[in-house]
């Protein structure tokens, strides 16, 4: 009790005297950086999750080809979930003389539960965001449906037995991106009108959907219970069903946010480690005096640890409070940038803030501070008494273990944590090694230098231990920031490539073999570029390596495998693959391939069905069998928006099967009517407008990019502050020496030049090693964690080196500015 009271008093006294302010500041910054990134990430992630859910129209859904049992809705409501229902089916609709096949969607008054419909009402130009479908007796049409039926709002549309008034035009559906192969124009009616249409009969091809939304845990409960009771013809939909390009953008953004949190963690550790070193150095004499005054080793240890505990408590609390305020401000901005109301963050990052504050203190501050208890009392008489330094091994291992634990906890990805931790260990070792060699070299070089230059470099080699620690710390901090910069640059440029301005916005399907030449000619005449036609044959899996297979054989492999084995899917054939296909195993066929039929499979598809190179697979194509051997596996960049296929057969392999052709093309805004001409010339063709989907995917990716950018800049700022604090943490010796130099008559210019030499060399050294390490780690992370191809980025390395030295220079000159502004005696007395 006495020790705790004493420690409490010492904490306040040290705070009042400014002794531990730097340590407190480092801790506050550390906790603030990690917590704020955590809180913002938490909010951005839930925002992004909402965005993903918007594509579903809810947090989860159940799709069925028969009416969904009302018990499902009842049990969802029991879980306090909101429930909405829709039904969809193809049918003919009529407007005056015009008749067209349409995709009818019957919607209740609550759908969508996430996101909104964007519609333009009768006689209005403004676009409205609404929830709930048309009221009974009315109908909404998609733009192409209105065009096809040649109707204006106010006119009547016949849907089955009922006649409904066209009151609004659908501009955008939140869930349009779910499946864009719905060929026909869309007609939206009220769910209440569905039975009146008389179109619901036995054998009707109706897809029923029930979506739910609510608290995450409740939704999980719904998913779990529905999964258990899933019946034939029913399928669960989660955000994983969103379009692959959106999903991968969201996943990568999530991983990036995780990386940003890790980077802030490393910076925090660096700052606290350096501040603790200084703290311990400043408390050496005090501890010796206390030993002299009769304090036992345990008293000193208790006092120091107690002070550290109170410091941790106060520092973490301030850090968390600041982080909370900051995330509120950033949240407002992010919310408007993303165009969604961000949910409030959870409490988890707050508790994490305390845990991080204390773990960082224990791992980095306890060893040097506990070493204080071993200070010999004799130091009060003789300052040259050797001190017991904590073992470098203990400090290093404890620090690495602490950081490792935190990384493991925060990373979510073992690969990410291992790469970063390994990277840190190696970087620290390399930094210390190179710094040591350089110091040896500097000792020789400085003989040939004069004046302040020599003094600056002499300073570096004289405080060898401190220089090594500082180069390592500064280097690690810079490395972390550069790593984030590298990955972010990769990620953003990748996203930009993903959505080029000329991404295909129209798909043309159902082109028959005898129409191929005519369609190609038409496209050429209209000046549409890079248009390729792919054959498409519907096939069903029949045999693998001579053994008949059905969905039941894949029961153990999961729902996806089972579905793939049961359903029909498209086979295609190409001579050569485009850039959006990357070979991951086996070998592609040559462009003029002849001989045995080969096939190339998308790697995810192959792994779901446990297919490997060399397997012989047979498909049933309208009663005929097609057999081919797997000779290559590909990774497909679905983001390309070009037609891509899970299974592709070697050239000529589909010749004897009846195929239709598909093509994707970018049709400029002014040329949209060209597509109408194409359909007029070939009435059997269907043109699918994926422009809206493209727009939605693009806007999602833009939002995700904004999140990544804002978290990146925030981490960068927090990181710079932490590094500034770190450089400042080791100024005492420099201030003392500079004070002495002032006494000896050094001019302001000489002093500043000496300091500038020292700091710039320190920064140059750290920056160089940090840039190289960051490049190597970024290459590993890009390829292993983000699945991005990586190219060496020389300019960024140069920025790292220049940035590192400038940062160290500015921070160092700032920290020692006082020495030339106040009388030397004041500088010396203050230490």
């Amino acid at each position: 009790m006495r020790i705790i009271r004493l420690a409490w008093r010492q904490t306040w006294r040290d705070l009042a005297a400014g002794e531990i302010r730097l340590m407190l500041m480092a801790l506050v910054l550390a906790v603030m950086a990690v917590t704020a990134v955590g809180l913002i990430t938490d909010r951005a992630e839930s925002g992004l999750q909402q965005e993903a859910n918007r594509l579903l129209g809810g947090d989860a859904g159940l799709r069925a080809d028969t009416p969904i049992n009302p018990d499902v809705a009842a049990s969802a409501k029991k879980l306090k979930l909101d429930v909405a229902e829709t039904a969809g089916f193809p049918s003919m609709v009529q407007a005056g003389e015009s008749v067209s096949l349409a995709d009818i969607r019957a919607i209740d008054s609550r759908y969508p539960l996430r996101g909104e419909f964007r519609i333009r009402r009768e006689n209005k130009t403004a676009i409205e965001n609404v929830q709930g479908g048309p009221v009974a007796g009315t109908v909404w049409l998609s733009e192409d449906a209105a065009r096809k039926l040649k109707v204006a709002t106010g006119q009547r549309i016949g849907v089955g037995d009922v006649s409904l008034v066209y009151t609004a035009t659908m501009i955008q559906e939140p869930d349009a991106a779910l499946d864009y192969f719905n060929v026909a124009p869309r007609v939206f009616i009220a769910l209440d009108d569905l039975s009146k249409t008389g179109l619901v009969q036995n054998g009707s091809r109706i897809q029923y959907r029930l979506v739910v939304s609510g608290k995450k845990s409740d939704v999980q409960g719904f998913i779990a219970s529905t999964k258990k009771n899933l019946q034939r013809g029913q399928r669960l939909e989660t955000s994983d069903d969103a379009r692959p390009e959106v999903r991968s953008a969201l996943e990568r953004a999530g991983r990036f946010l995780g990386l940003a949190a890790l980077v802030s963690l490393i910076l925090a550790a660096v700052a606290v480690a350096l501040a603790a070193r200084r703290h311990s150095a400043r408390h050496l004499d005090g501890s010796a005096v206390m030993r002299c005054l009769g304090a036992s080793q345990s008293t000193i240890a208790g006092l120091q640890l107690g002070e550290l505990f109170f410091l941790g408590l106060v520092g973490s609390a301030i850090g968390i409070t600041l982080a909370w305020l900051l995330q509120m401000a950033v949240g407002v901005w992010l919310s408007s940038a993303m165009g969604v109301a961000l949910p409030q963050p959870g409490m988890q990052p707050v508790f994490a803030g305390f845990a991080i504050g204390f773990t960082v203190l224990i791992a980095f501050a306890v060893p040097p501070i506990l070493a204080l208890r071993k200070v010999p009392a004799l130091r009060v008489l003789r300052r040259d008494v050797p001190l017991t330094e904590p073992s470098a091994w203990v400090v290093g291992l404890l620090g690495l273990a602490g950081l490792g634990g935190l990384l493991w906890w925060k990373a979510d990805s073992a690969t990410l944590a291992s790469i970063i931790l390994g990277g840190i260990g190696i970087t620290a070792a390399v930094l210390a090694g190179i710094a040591w060699l350089l110091l040896r070299w500097l000792k020789k070089v400085r003989q040939g230098l004069r004046g302040p230059w020599r003094y600056g470099l002499a300073n570096l080699s004289r405080h060898e231990g401190m220089t090594l620690a500082q180069v390592s710390a500064l280097g690690l901090g810079l490395m972390a920031l550069l790593l984030l910069t590298f990955v972010r640059t990769d990620l953003l440029s990748r996203w930009q490539q993903t959505m080029p301005a000329d991404a295909p916005n129209r798909f043309v399907i159902n082109v028959q073999s005898d129409q191929l030449d005519g369609v190609k000619k038409f496209i050429d005449n209209e000046g549409l570029k890079n248009v390729q036609l792919f054959p498409m044959v519907r096939a069903r899996l029949q045999e693998v390596n001579g053994k008949k297979v059905t969905g039941a054989d894949y029961e153990a492999a999961g729902m996806r495998a089972q579905r793939l084995a049961e359903r029909e899917f498209n086979l295609s054939s190409v001579a050569a693959f485009g850039e959006d296909n990357k070979l991951v195993a086996g070998k592609y066929w040559s462009a003029n391939h002849s001989g045995d039929r080969e096939m190339s499979v998308e790697e995810g598809f192959a792994s779901s069905l446990s297919w490997k190179i060399g397997d012989v697979v047979s498909f049933d194509i309208a009663g005929q069998t097609l057999t081919a051997k797997i000779t290559s596996l590909r990774k497909v960049e679905w983001e390309s928006f070009k037609p891509n296929f899970f299974v592709v057969i070697s050239p000529g392999g589909l010749e004897n099967y009846s195929a239709s052709y598909i093509s994707a093309m970018h049709v400029p805004e002014g040329k949209i009517s060209v597509m109408d001409n194409l359909v007029r010339e070939y009435p059997n063709l269907s043109v699918i407008d994926v422009g809206a989907v493209l727009k939605q995917v693009r806007s999602t990716i833009e939002q995700v990019s904004r999140v990544v950018e804002s978290v990146f800049y925030f981490s960068l700022l927090a990181g710079l502050l932490v590094l500034l604090a770190a450089v400042q943490a080791s100024q005492d010796d420099r201030m003392r020496e500079a004070g002495v130099m002032r006494v000896l008559g050094a001019s302001k210019k000489q002093l500043r030049l000496a300091q500038a030499t020292e700091f710039a060399s320190l920064g140059l050294l750290s920056g160089l090693v940090a840039s190289i390490s960051a490049s190597v780690i970024a290459s590993l992370i890009s390829e292993q964690v983000f699945n991005l191809p990586w190219t060496f980025n020389w300019p960024l390395i140069a920025y790292g080196v220049i940035g590192g030295s400038s940062l160290a220079l500015l921070a160092g000159l700032w920290a020692t500015r006082k020495v030339t502004q106040v009388p030397p005696m004041e500088t010396l007395r203050a230490l």
Partner: protein, 222 residues
């Protein structure tokens, strides 16, 4: 009168890379309670080493020291610290005040370490006695050298030590301030009956002590 300090056959040897350096050898003497002792000698004569061994800040290579009949060699580092806390006070040439503590907090520190219930009153009282009643809340850097030494003397006497060691207490002060500090030291010593051991170069200060030991090259001059 009982012995306050008993030093017998004390020696200190420091091992150098190629040889041994004998800093102190065969030093023996006794001081009674309440006596004042000056240890004088040139720089490097072993004065400070002798003081550090007598105060238990360092361990001897040979011989032993008894303070109030307790053999310091029989105690471990923490045991010696406890003895210092209970019975011994210090005044140093470089004051050794804690920069983060105000004057009164510096004086309260030994009482707090001992667990005294009301350290503030005693500290205030003694700071008033040394003439710093108006500067209780000042930090060491805000005090002159003489004032800092007064705080150090107050800190030494506040625990009412049986033995007080002073290492060159006027070494960092000008003559005038030095004299005032010495007056204060002896005045407090007299009123509290403490045994005072002073290491000094200053013959005038030595002359005020009841006993003088002269050291040269680590040996006592008779």
């Amino acid at each position: 009168m009982a012995n306050a300090i008993n030093v017998s056959n004390l020696g200190k040897v420091v091992r150098l890379p190629t040889s041994e350096l004998r800093i102190l050898q065969d030093v023996s003497f006794q001081i009674n309670q309440g006596q004042t002792l000056a240890i004088v000698g040139a720089s490097g004569s072993g004065k400070s080493t002798l003081l550090s061994l007598m105060a238990g800040l360092d361990t001897p290579s040979e011989g032993h020291v008894e303070i109030l009949d307790v053999n310091l060699s029989s105690l471990d580092e923490d045991g010696r610290a406890k003895l210092r806390g209970d019975k011994v006070g210090f005044v140093f040439q470089s004051f050794q005040l804690l920069p983060a503590l105000t004057a009164i907090e510096n004086v309260m520190l030994p009482l707090e370490l001992r667990g005294d219930a009301n350290p503030q009153a005693a500290a205030r009282d003694i700071l008033q006695r040394v003439g710093l009643g108006e500067r209780l809340e000042h930090y060491p850097r805000q005090l002159s050298g003489g004032e800092q030494q007064r705080v150090a003397i107050a800190r030494a006497f506040v625990v009412q030590p049986s033995v007080l060691f002073a290492d060159e207490p006027t070494g960092n002060l000008d003559t005038e301030t030095g004299r005032a500090i010495v007056d204060l030291l002896f005045e407090l010593n007299q009123t509290s009956g403490t045994t005072l051991v002073v290491v000094t170069h200053d013959e005038k200060l030595a002359a005020r002590c009841s006993k003088i030991l002269r050291l040269a090259e680590g040996r006592l001059l008779q």
